[in-house]
């Protein structure tokens, strides 16, 4: 009974789709959208800059800040000794120091901050510190870390069935190694925080963050105050992608420490290069696998050793590696699995959340294993993929024991295979490759199945606050962050739909810890699901009173909210008139709302249970050409069908699908993080780290939202989360490159290819 009521509390009353532009589109194109650095600056504002370590491991012998303090415009410096509370911004686990005064643990570790009268002067002064460091030998690679048992968290072992036996008893066995690199978020708006002192020693923080509540909590602990003395506000951020889920805390903490110490507003805006040096990235992964399979390519048993480079601290690495484990199956049924997951600690900046959150790496592994099997059997990988798919009624339990109830992968896969003319093109490519000795083409189709919900169960909650003012205009507030994904647009549409109003009647406002408290990060693709649920619940609460007033006052049974009006049994009323009447009759016209994802549960020890409410599906076909002389490569065509459920706004969802794909494309091709042998990052600017440009995108880029999309779970508007899943559609590009390498190599071996598939890595994989 209680479950039914809960579902009722947050149901979309009328399923809809409304394809409109982003709520801030006009502000974006006119430069009027305000980001943190654009907020009118308060009087007496001071500016900070961080001084950081330029070695990756060592101990500080001596520091001399005299020259810093004597530099032009400098007001003060802050160091560890200025921290009243905890010297840590770690989100779940401790270990992310703000400043170090003794041990240097990674290149880019903050040691102090300068406060000056301008950003320029602060940054100039920061270079004047004299810091003597005794260098120690760092651990820099996954291999070294495993050898020295250097881990940020305990390794996990997952077992399902009897993998060794199943492999042994299979028709074929293969072993292999795989590697995929890290990735810098490269949000266009760099990290920034502005702290403004308020009365009673309270602080208002504007931060470019995906997680205002945790910013509030952490800053409070750092400056040793109660949570209720810190207010964090965010209207929008210039891209996040996971890079501002926890990485923003350091900067909000430093601006706040300085602001409290000097009792002045302080802004800390990080230079692009420093940002790329000081903040964590996507985890690099390495895999060793052993697979046993039948003559027709069906996987019987799989053993995997996966190890990720977590950098210096745990940060979110536990959940990220868990999600990699959860996605080691992608869309495939693996009857017997044995998996060991190492979370390696190295002397590099702590790696963090990034779109997909370990999922892409897990799926990278299985897709490459399937390619290996296919090439070994000399069969079309598309066939081997289909062969191994989860089925509807059988083979539908995952390796963590969750029954898949919403499986649509076969339908999407087959639709796309036909639509993209995969088979015909594959034949044409064969022909092309026969007549070209230097250029070789490749093609691949890969599926995506991605689990939706935070795997940390308690994070799956959200709150909202909805006001109707007496003129009938609505103010909407919730815990989600607008980072370009169109969250605010979708949620305003949800509210408008419930009240039968136009989106222009809904005021979209800054996310604010004083309005909705204890929120979760805008992450895990679930922000619309969670906050949409909370908004529906708030509206339900309002309507509970409002509707009963209308029924009584207007003597009607029927109440339909539509086109700014309320349709009753006999007459049609104007929404705003009813609202003002309701006010005069003392009806409560605002409410909070709450949502928690139903059905989910996880055993944290062995990861078993139902971590996800549902899955999002998709598939992509990519065709590439490589130059066997140079390893240069080009993406020629992409075809995608992606499942967004019953989309709230297809224009917004389309943007997520295409944008996610291209970001994945960058991860797997041009984006290469490079370190020197001392652990100093070399790729710390857009001149050395190359994300895709307009020219990398194929002219034939055909994207379709799955027409029959419908979420069988009771999620807002029966839509599906669409932030992360499309990222992994780009695995088709890597498989296509692998196919081209396979086609080029006389020994038919493509196993040497590692990601990113840069020209150099492609050339190295050719024999």
């Amino acid at each position: 009974m209680s479950i039914i009521i809960k579902e009722l509390l947050c149901m979309t009353t009328k399923i809809f789709v409304k394809n409109i532009e982003h709520e801030s589109a006009i502000k974006h194109v006119t430069g009027k959208a305000i980001y943190t650095d654009d907020i009118p600056e308060p009087q007496n504002l001071l500016y900070a800059a961080i001084g950081f370590s330029n070695v990756s491991k060592g101990t500080i012998q001596k520091t001399d800040f005299t020259k810093v303090l004597n530099s032009k415009g400098v007001i003060d410096i802050i160091t560890e000794s200025d921290i009243e509370g905890q010297n840590d911004v770690g989100p779940i686990f401790k270990g992310d120091k703000i400043f170090t005064s003794k041990n240097i643990e990674y290149y880019g570790q903050p040691i102090f901050a300068v406060i000056a009268t301008s950003t320029k002067l602060a940054r100039q002064a920061a270079l004047n510190a004299k810091i003597e460091i005794k260098k120690l030998k760092p651990i820099l690679t996954i291999e070294e870390a495993i050898k020295k048992k250097s881990f940020v968290l305990k390794s996990k072992v997952i077992k399902k069935g009897k993998a060794s036996m199943a492999i042994k008893n299979s028709d074929h066995q293969l072993k292999g190694k795989l590697e995929c690199g890290g990735q810098d978020h490269f949000y266009l708006e760099g990290q920034i925080a502005l702290t403004i002192p308020q009365e009673d020693n309270n602080f208002l923080i504007y931060s470019s963050t995906q997680h205002p509540s945790e910013t509030q909590q952490i800053v409070a602990k750092v400056i040793k105050q109660k949570f209720n003395s810190i207010n964090v506000k965010v209207r929008r951020i210039g891209g996040g992608f996971g890079g501002k889920e926890t990485q923003s805390f350091l900067f909000a903490a430093i601006s706040s420490i300085a602001s409290k110490k000097l009792n002045k507003p302080v802004k800390l805006r990080i230079d692009r290069d420093d940002d790329m040096i000081m903040t964590g990235k996507r985890h690099q992964f390495k895999f060793d696998y052993e697979v046993g399979f039948s003559n027709d390519g069906k996987i019987n048993g799989l053993k995997i050793l996966m190890a990720s480079n977590c950098g210096i601290s745990a940060d979110l690495s536990g959940a990220i590696n868990d999600r990699a484990i959860y996605h080691i199956d992608n869309a495939y049924y693996i009857p017997n699995l044995e998996l060991t997951s190492h979370r390696c600690k190295t002397n590099t900046v702590s790696n963090t959340a990034f779109r997909g959150f370990g999922g892409p790496q897990g799926m990278f592994c299985i897709e490459n294993i399937i390619d290996h099997i296919s090439h070994h059997l000399n069969k079309d990988p598309a066939k081997i993929r289909a062969q191994n798919f989860y089925k509807i009624n059988t083979n539908n339990i995952t390796h963590y024991g969750m029954k898949i109830e919403d499986n649509i992968i076969e339908e999407i896969f087959n639709n796309l295979k036909n639509k993209s003319k995969y088979i015909k093109r594959k034949k044409e490519i064969e022909k092309f490759n026969k007549s070209n000795s230097i250029l070789k083409k490749g093609i691949a189709i890969t599926p995506v199945k991605f689990g939706i919900s935070f795997t940390t169960t308690h994070l799956n909650q959200a709150g909202a606050l909805v006001h109707i003012y007496t003129d009938g205009s609505i103010h909407l507030n919730h815990g989600g962050i607008e980072m370009g994904q169109g969250l605010m647009t979708k949620l305003a549409l949800v509210a408008a739909n419930e009240f039968g109003l136009d989106i222009s009647d809904i005021k979209i406002s800054s996310t604010d810890t004083e309005k909705v408290s204890n929120t979760s990060a805008s992450a895990a693709s679930a922000t619309t699901d969670l906050n949409g649920g909370a908004i529906l619940n708030a509206i339900y609460n309002i309507k509970l009173e409002l509707d009963s007033f209308i029924k009584k006052y207007y003597k009607t049974k029927k109440i339909i909210y539509q086109n700014g009006k309320i349709m009753c049994d006999k007459k049609t009323l104007l929404f705003n008139e009813v609202i003002s009447k309701a006010y005069l009759n003392r009806v409560k016209l605002y409410s909070s709302g709450f949502y928690k994802t139903p059905k989910i549960n996880v055993n944290v020890k062995d990861l078993s249970g139902r971590p996800f409410l549902y899955f999002a599906y998709g598939a992509a076909v990519s065709e590439v050409v490589i130059d066997t002389l140079t390893g240069e490569n080009k993406l020629l065509q992409v075809d995608i069908i992606h499942d967004a459920g019953n989309s709230i706004n297809q224009r917004i969802d389309m943007g997520q699908i295409e944008g996610g794909f291209v970001q994945g494309l960058g991860w797997l091709t041009t984006e290469e993080i490079s370190w020197n042998k001392n652990g100093n990052i070399l790729s710390h600017s857009p001149s050395t780290y190359k994300i895709p440009t307009a020219g990398e995108i194929p002219n034939k880029f055909n994207v379709e939202i799955f027409k029959k999309g419908y979420n069988i779970e009771n999620v807002v508007n029966r839509s599906k989360a669409v932030g992360e899943p499309p990222f992994m559609l780009a695995l088709s590009v890597f498989s296509a490159i692998r196919d081209a390498v396979f086609n080029a190599n006389s020994n038919k071996d493509s196993t040497k290819l590692i990601a990113p598939a840069t020209p150099e890595n492609i050339l190295n994989s050719l024999n």
Partner: protein, 474 residues
Amino acid sequence: MPSSSIEFLLNDELITLNDLDTNTTVLEYLRNYKNLKGTKEGCASGDCGACTAVLAEVKDNKLKYKSINTCITLLYTLHSKQLLTVEHIESKYLHPVQQSMVDNDGAQCGFCTPGFVMSMYAMHKNKIKPTNENINKYLSGNLCRCTGYRPIKDALKNLKKYKNLNTDSSEILKKLKKINLNDVILNKNNSKFFIHKNLQTFKKDFIKSKNPSLLVGGTDLSLEITKRRKNLDEIFYLGQNKDLNFIKVKKNNLHIGAATPINDILSILKKYYSEFYEMFERYGSEQIRNVASLGGNIGSASPIGDSLPVLISLDTKLILDGNKSRKMSISDYFISYRKTKLRKKEFIKEIIIPLKSKHNILKCYKISKRIDDDISSVFMAINTEIKNKKFKSIKIVCGGMAAIPKIAKKTENFLKNKKINLDNISKAKKIISKEFSPLSDVRSSKTYRTKIVSNLLDRFWNEYNNKRVTLYDY
């Protein structure tokens, strides 16, 4: 008398300026002093385009528009120009490029958007056809991390749907032409900024200077300020020096003023050296090519400056000037990493490229991680004259293989007067793979570099046999 302030138009407002630091960038000026916050800082190194604005300059009695990276453009270089920012281009209605971006969902987080809008605006103003090729070229300097570019490209392709807002530029032209084009000498906090209109006055001040920095596009120099946090004491801006801004053909040579922007030499270069011209399509971005100069590329002496191997292979001569003028072959110019034969109080005045003879073949090969706006891992220029199927002369010059752009001397010696056939190419491949000892760095490993220079000779051989096989044709 030189004037002691600059004059320019900020959108429609005439500004006279001399009270800001000489190291101020245009972006700092817009955001910190004019409260024009539509223009964003994404990287402060001219690589992401978030800060793009448009310059209008008077040329041949017309306004010419170019997109620039305001983060690496120094404020005082705006003298006599109009700077157009995103705040300006919307009037009563959105500008067509803005409306098209809205209608095609070209913005998500919106932070890169004003920069894109301004690059598109420059395209629109210059009436560039939105073909795929042109779009990729004109947007190569703008990074977007959200959209995946398809909607932005569509916004350009669909521009024709919108009514053109024909604005009259005659008023602006009139205002700009009124600005006094005298020399400018600014002195602010013991730091000087010079703008000269000709060589004579420039030389006089330059020779007197103590610690001069020569500035044209600032695509390298400005990073001293924005990234290395330095203050430049004496900046000599050469962008308005008539004697350094020209391109002309005299007898059998192409003469190029050292400060001429790349985009101003391209149309002539295309006529004489189409391969060299094509190389520039992948040289930096549109914003960079709009302001960067050959003289700057030579002066900064980067081992990976793409134009350098080509210039060396073409037997280019340099005119260096200062106390006295001298002529030098560019192949003698580079000494070691970023060290050249340029003396103190000397500058590069002119670049002289011999015109190609009928029998010459020039090839420019660039290998990088990304096609557009990337620095080469390896660059190779081959200039050869083949007669009777023999290499009558051959120059092979590589970038990214040594501390300076370097000639593959042994390979050249081997191939000279040899028959052009597979056997000799194979032998040359072996020689060239031993000729260099490159470094491993962020762009590629030494092994890859070594392999590539050798494989590029295969590419040459294929192309000689009329088998053009690069994937850029697909």
